[in-house]
Subunit: 294 residues, 4 copies
């Protein structure tokens, strides 16, 4: 039984170390810092490689970093898979592995190493390799594991996804309609700027997002009128997602326990039952409350 | 009486099928998907037609799509009119038809097919036909029928319409005043950029919406000062509608019944005491309530 | 005493007519529409005058409109002064006049006609007259009298004025610091674009407000780095006033009686008196509560 | 003992005078105004010095202002250090000094004078002096001491710092990824605009912040597609911090005691029971409830 327990202890310790370090857990902190450092080094490498000459001169170093990173990330992923059933106790190990691999964080971990192994498994031509190199950037996303707030924000966005999708949908329609109208208004005067509707989409995006590069803009009176209307609608367009996400944050805030002292006094009120005086927080929700009290 | 009931059943079924499909209602889902597909195909067609040559080469196909779409949308509209009194039971059929035809969704359905029939009824010259072709874009708006959230957002906007109209009103005044001042400040130096106040409105819009194409901008010191002030006011201008819609969403959120589970835990808990099961709203008191009730 | 009452009635009726028309008060509506029409005509006139030739050809008409407008606005102002003590009953007439003349709406009414009378009273040279003509634009502001929501929004802005002033203050500091740094970074390379700090303020405003006309932008690495930082801070700059005004609207909303059903249940908590257990909703407000409980 | 008390009185009075002036405290107000005036004069000086010739002609005056400012700020800092233990009574003087010097406001006070003394203490070459002159701008930050709301806003930002950092983090990743992709898409076509990834960061910032100077923009179809996507994401990017800070303000608002009168009527109504007239707030969680009900 002793080896068994030692085995279990090893797994639990491994899990601890891989998770965001707890206060004072030196080893876990060291591991976190190492991984973060390597991730940042990868980001820097991709950027530096883009400078002429730099790549050719230091190709060896870049390749070395690549090998180290892939080795580290592969080991990390392996250990995570080994211990992933410790996240939610009481589940089978295979099920936990699947749940992990289909979760966003799991997909990111996979994509961080696959581009390296793929060419070794199946023959791919150079252009594909080129694109695969870019995927290394997704390694930066591994950083999200080390910040909590990402979860909150993701939750807010997920909760409001319907409204956000509608906003995106309305935007797309507005973009297509705007560029169609602009095409019919300006293509005669500036055929090079508005050769077809797809091209004038470029103008529509630059206008609706209020970027206004200035490479394409209407010159006719009607075109400018339309452009003005689109621009003003663009403000509303910025207002919508902001408003949607704002209200989401306000709600999420009200739900958080820390927000307790931020609640209106009356709301904080019912902490204890005024009839029997027992604490209510202990129970929390009404659902089980009823069952329990029955 | 049998035929009567069969007739009634037919109408009810038709209504079901036309409405957004319920879970598992295969026929209704098929109809929805067909209509959505045709709508999207129409959007694509308008875009593709704008490419030189593409239209001439595939004129036949474009016309075929047009015929199919109009046939489908006409049938759809006819059936909707036939069954529209089932939406709100207990109303006369003619009344329901009128209500439907003046409703936004009804107007869109009409505009989606009218442009095709109009030239057949009354003689119109080619330029008008040109414009009418654009109206086909409104067919995209038929998609709004298939998303729920549009309603929520429309409601928020409608609720805040007064504030939004004021924002628009203030914006217009600001635009006119700004372009008037700019006209007097810059027309001497750049007569081609600011020939008259209407023309300098183009600058005012590009500045106030923070687009800044860069085709027109002040060059004199005073002009730049004014431009800077307008730009800063422009930020406030973006802030207003955002704030208005935001607050609208926050309120709509709080009012929604679904928002119930979004309440702060403590608030939900305070429905019944889980220990003695007595209602808590009655007291809404805190711990000291206990001492008292004892 | 009859004439006395007739006099009082006349004043009250005049006040009614001048105020925003009540339902079905034909005369009052007619007056409102006339004034609004003349105001809009004035706006149009100023715009049209800016077109070359247009002014010379229709100088007579423009002058006629000017005379009519001034006559109408003078009469309006006179009657308002005559009846302004009816707004807040129980005050002396002179006091009411002063209060009206120093109120924003009163100042606007004065500025709408003063530019016409000033040259008649004191000799002014043409340039001043030129500027005075612009002041006619303020007549558009007379329209604000006919919309309610302006009050709400003004209230929100007034309530948050401290925060807004701080935002403006921080913006100004940021602008000055940014343009100073940019001046030292770029003035060597682009002396014409950044001749001195005041000139580079133009760049700072265009960047911080995310307008980016594109007439002035950094070309050195350091300059672009600074520009990027300023741009990102610019986003925060847009966020601040939006957030400030948003929260103001949310609060104003919560204060409104209609918002009553928008309260979180827990907040409504005190539905029953914890002392005698009688329902409180029945009474609602405190005021009548006293009456009742007496 | 008399001198002792006189000494203590002197310190207390000095502290009062240096703090933001209380109503009617003439001396304190005079001191505040003097300091603010000198601070603003410094800002003006830095700006004016940037004009060619202006500096050479009035070098004397600028130097005089510098001397006066440094003397004043040095005296101010000295007195603040002398009295800083009066801020939080019951602490040792050295501890208070340290707390003050490491506080933001203390650091600003130090940086406001150090640049002047540094060259006198250690030999520095002219370029460093150049930079040091810029630091004088931080003197403007001394103004923050005289506005209250800065504290509130700083608090909101501090409270939401995690979310804001995440927003910044996501932005940086988005910037790097976008400019990497754009580099691979456009560097072939526009080698001068996208020579390497660091350079195309300039485009990414200008696009994501919707500035769009127009000096760098994609010309290929793929590049424009990417640019459009980045631009739309840019809107979300503006939405995030706005939403975060908004919700922070809404919460801060709800926590503020002044927000009390901002409660929805129904909640305010329940101050006293209309039947038995007993206070309800007492139960809604204040200590006196106990006293009373006992």
């Amino acid at each position: 039984m002793a080896p068994m327990t030692r085995y279990r202890r090893a797994r639990e310790r491994t899990y601890e170390v891989l998770e965001k370090a707890a206060e004072g857990d030196r080893l876990s902190q060291a591991v976190d810092i190492t991984i973060i450092a390597v991730i940042l080094a990868n980001g820097a490498a991709v950027v530096l490689e883009s400078f002429d000459g730099l790549y050719d001169r230091y190709a060896g170093w870049f390749f070395a970093l690549e090998l180290v990173s892939v080795a580290l990330f592969t080991a990390e992923l392996a250990l995570r898979l080994w211990t992933c059933d410790l996240r939610r106790p009481g589940g089978s190990w295979p099920g936990a592995v699947v749940r992990f691999l289909v979760s966003p964080i799991g997909i990111i971990d996979l994509l961080a190493i696959l581009p390296f192994y793929l060419p070794l498994l199946i023959p791919v031509d150079l252009r594909v390799v080129r694109v695969l190199r870019l995927v290394r950037f997704l390694r930066l996303l591994k950083l999200t594991r080390y910040t909590r707030s990402v979860a909150t924000m993701a939750a807010v966005v997920r909760e409001r996804r319907h409204e956000l999708m509608v906003a995106v949908f309305l935007t797309s329609i507005l973009l297509v309609v705007a560029s169609t109208l602009m095409y019919y208004l300006e293509s005669k005067v500036q055929p090079e700027a508005f050769p077809n509707i797809v091209a004038s989409l470029w103008w529509a995006v630059a206008t609706l997002t209020t970027i206004g590069y200035g490479d394409v803009f209407p010159v006719t009176g009607m075109g400018r009128l339309l452009s003005g209307i689109i621009a003003v609608l663009g403000i509303g367009l910025v207002a919508l997602p902001t408003a949607i996400i704002s209200s989401g944050f306000v709600e999420a805030l009200a739900r958080k326990p820390e927000a307790a002292e931020a609640e209106p006094p009356a709301a904080v009120a019912a902490r204890f039952c005024p009839h029997c005086g027992k604490p209510l927080d202990a129970v929390g929700g009404t659902g089980n409350a009823i069952k329990e009290s029955v």
